[in-house]
């Protein structure tokens, strides 16, 4: 059993490390607890705190669907000390792991609806968990639209999913774009930023839930496009992130107004977000 001390992680092992981007700045880590009894069951939207002992902890969204069980996958971009130390790790290295934290996408409420997933860059990570969860329960939903873009073809993450696996799923459309095509000219698909691409793909708001994750600037403009297409605030979901230390609503770090992203989020619909002070 893990300690009653919420801040004490279980010991886990890195089983695999996979490059997601061509420049090597984003990798997916496959991790598994050393003690099977430490294993938790997460739900789409939730995060885990991963740590390199001697360096520190980082809160990372879980990118693998709970329907696939363990090991779980964490897609991590090299950004600071902890993520840097993780990127420098080898398969077989020990890490700390605790979780799952945060609220969930209200998937049960979406039964019978169409789903539109809009993601940019490595922020496909949290949405990927949700997409695979929904695909594992394919009968619950009508059409599934996946709209995804990155700066360049080399920055598109989860290529086996976006290029091969998802397009083959029943009644599922995958639309990809890049900000800039590569110089080699291998990219034959659409070129343009995600928000304007969403306007072109033009998903119907009728009986549809839209979920968007990406860099703040992308989210900002996607949230301007969706209402133009007829999506209401209640139909529109996104995730927020803020610096976290405890992950359990105690350390006073990740509040936006009276909400803590770690326990009240990370998933919010647009109605909820509009009630928050603009401080994130």
């Amino acid at each position: 059993m893990m300690s009653d001390n919420l801040l004490v992680p279980g010991v886990a092992t890195i089983l695999d490390i996979r490059d997601e981007t061509s420049n090597g700045d984003t990798k997916t880590f496959w991790v598994q607890f050393d003690k099977p009894e430490d294993a938790f069951v997460h739900r789409p939207g939730q995060c885990a705190m991963i740590s390199v002992f001697g360096v520190g902890e980082s809160m990372i969204s879980i990118t693998s669907t709970p329907t696939r069980g363990w090991p779980i996958e964490l897609c991590i971009k090299r950004a600071g000390r902890v993520t840097g130390a993780l990127h420098d790790s080898q398969i077989g290295d020990k890490v700390g792991l605790r979780g799952p934290y945060g609220n969930i996408f209200p998937v049960e409420d979406w039964k019978g609806k169409n789903l539109v997933f809009i993601a940019g860059g490595f922020a496909l990570a949290p949405v990927r968990c949700l997409i695979d969860y929904c695909l594992a329960h394919r009968d619950w939903f009508k059409h599934i639209d996946i709209i995804y873009g990155a700066r360049s073809p080399g920055d598109l993450c989860f290529k086996p999913d976006i290029l091969e696996r998802w397009p083959k799923e029943k009644d599922t459309t995958v639309s990809l774009t890049v900000d800039r095509a590569d110089e080699a000219g291998t990219w034959k698909g659409p070129v343009g930023f995600v928000p304007s691409f969403v306007e072109q793909v033009k998903p119907s708001p009728k009986d549809t839930i839209a979920v968007t994750c990406g860099p703040p600037i992308m989210i900002k403009f996607v949230l301007q496009v969706l209402p133009k297409l007829g999506f209401t605030d209640e139909q529109t979901f996104t995730t927020l992130e803020l610096k976290m230390q405890c992950g359990v609503g105690k350390c006073g770090r990740c509040n936006i107004g009276d909400k803590y992203v770690c326990v009240d989020g990370p998933v919010f619909n647009l109605t909820q977000i509009k009630k928050l002070p603009a401080e994130f």
Partner: protein
């Protein structure tokens, strides 16, 4: 206040016997209390033999007794990585020993309430903080009613009084009532089982904690009532602070910019505050061996919310000042139904630029 908790036990402790009592308690407990250090009253764990030096005259210590339940730094886990055995690396973790029970002695009634406000954060909600709980379950809080509130005190602005018992296991009330610092003895009143056990312990009895003379019941009642009726100078001027609703609409008010211009981001307010609890978690040591600990952090520091990559949602002083006052007077109230301030006045005394809570609470009413 209409507060009337039922005492579980009443005793009499002479002032001259306090040191002996604390020395007796120190046999089984870590005793923390207020002592003068270089002319300043500080709240800290008493060293052996220091029991007689406890200072109950100063209205409050410069630092707050929250150290009794939330140490400034606290190890969470020790780790050791063995990599050189040739096989797969192994990582062992070990929880630190939480130590003996703690008597948090001689705090003021406001500080005892503050501990309860921290309890709400750490012990309620979907997650109970195990490290905090383990320590807290072993803490007995002994407060002492304030005979003469300081000019910076404003507990009554939050509905408390210099004789409040909330959060305390035992309250000491000066036998001669409020108004006089000097007196020969204290009524020791236990309001909880834990307090009753402390007063009734063999050590307490041996150290002269005596039964209350039957003839003195009414006199004690009168003294307690007088403490509870006592007003504080600043609180009397300010009146009741109830600004949570008003603050709902003031997030974007230019007031925050104006008031925070003089803030020097030193974080003193958060460190002396008995209700500020925000913490960070960090590792010290090397990759092979070390300790992960938590430490008090401060929302007044620019780095508090700076993320890897450099984004900081609160880059300006006005945002950080607003965060602190909103947390105390609005956000916490939304989550827990009361204010995260007990009116101890430490920020009034310690802020180098006079940017303190009663000032802001008063200003907010006029916005």
């Amino acid at each position: 206040m209409a507060e009337s908790p039922v005492p579980k036990a009443t005793r009499l402790v002479t002032k001259a016997g306090l040191g002996a009592w604390l020395a007796a308690l120190a046999a089984d407990n870590t005793v923390m209390g207020p002592v003068m250090v270089d002319g300043k009253p500080l709240f800290r764990a008493l060293a052996a033999g220091q029991e007689g030096d406890v200072d109950l005259e100063s209205v409050h210590t410069v630092n707050s007794p929250k150290v009794g339940v939330l140490p400034q730094t606290e190890p969470m886990v020790r780790y050791r990585l063995d990599k050189d055995s040739g096989g797969a690396p192994t990582l062992s973790t070990e929880a630190p020993d939480s130590g003996p029970p703690v008597v948090v002695f001689g705090v003021r009634p406001c500080d005892a309430v503050a501990i309860e406000l921290l309890d709400k954060v750490f012990l309620t909600g979907d997650f109970v903080d195990g490290a905090y709980k383990e320590r807290r379950d072993k803490v007995t809080v002994v407060s002492v009613a304030c005979p003469v509130p300081a000019k910076s005190c404003f507990c009554d602005s939050f509905g408390l009084t210099p004789g409040a018992s909330r959060g305390a296991d035992v309250v000491l009330y000066g036998r001669s009532g409020p108004g006089k610092v000097e007196g020969d003895a204290y009524y020791a009143v236990a309001y909880t089982d834990r307090g009753e056990a402390l007063l009734g312990s063999a050590g307490s009895k041996a150290a002269g904690v005596a039964d209350l003379p039957g003839t003195e019941g009414q006199k004690m009642e009168n003294a307690i009532s007088s403490f509870r009726a006592l007003k504080t100078p600043l609180g009397d001027k300010l009146g009741r602070i109830d600004v949570a609703g008003k603050l709902d609409g003031l997030f974007e008010n230019p007031y925050w910019e104006k008031i925070s211009a003089r803030c020097v981001s030193c974080g003193t307010c958060t460190f002396v505050c008995p209700t500020c609890y925000c913490f960070g978690v960090a590792d010290t040591g090397a990759a092979g061996q070390g300790v992960r600990f938590r430490y008090w952090d401060s929302c007044k520091f620019p780095q508090f919310l700076t993320m890897a990559g450099g984004h900081n949602p609160r880059p300006a002083k006005k945002m950080r000042s607003r965060q602190r006052f909103m947390h105390k007077l609005n956000y916490y109230h939304h989550r827990y139904g009361e204010y995260l301030c007990v009116g101890c006045g430490r920020c009034v005394e310690s802020c180098p630029v006079g940017l303190h809570l009663p000032l802001v609470a008063g200003d907010v009413r006029g916005l």
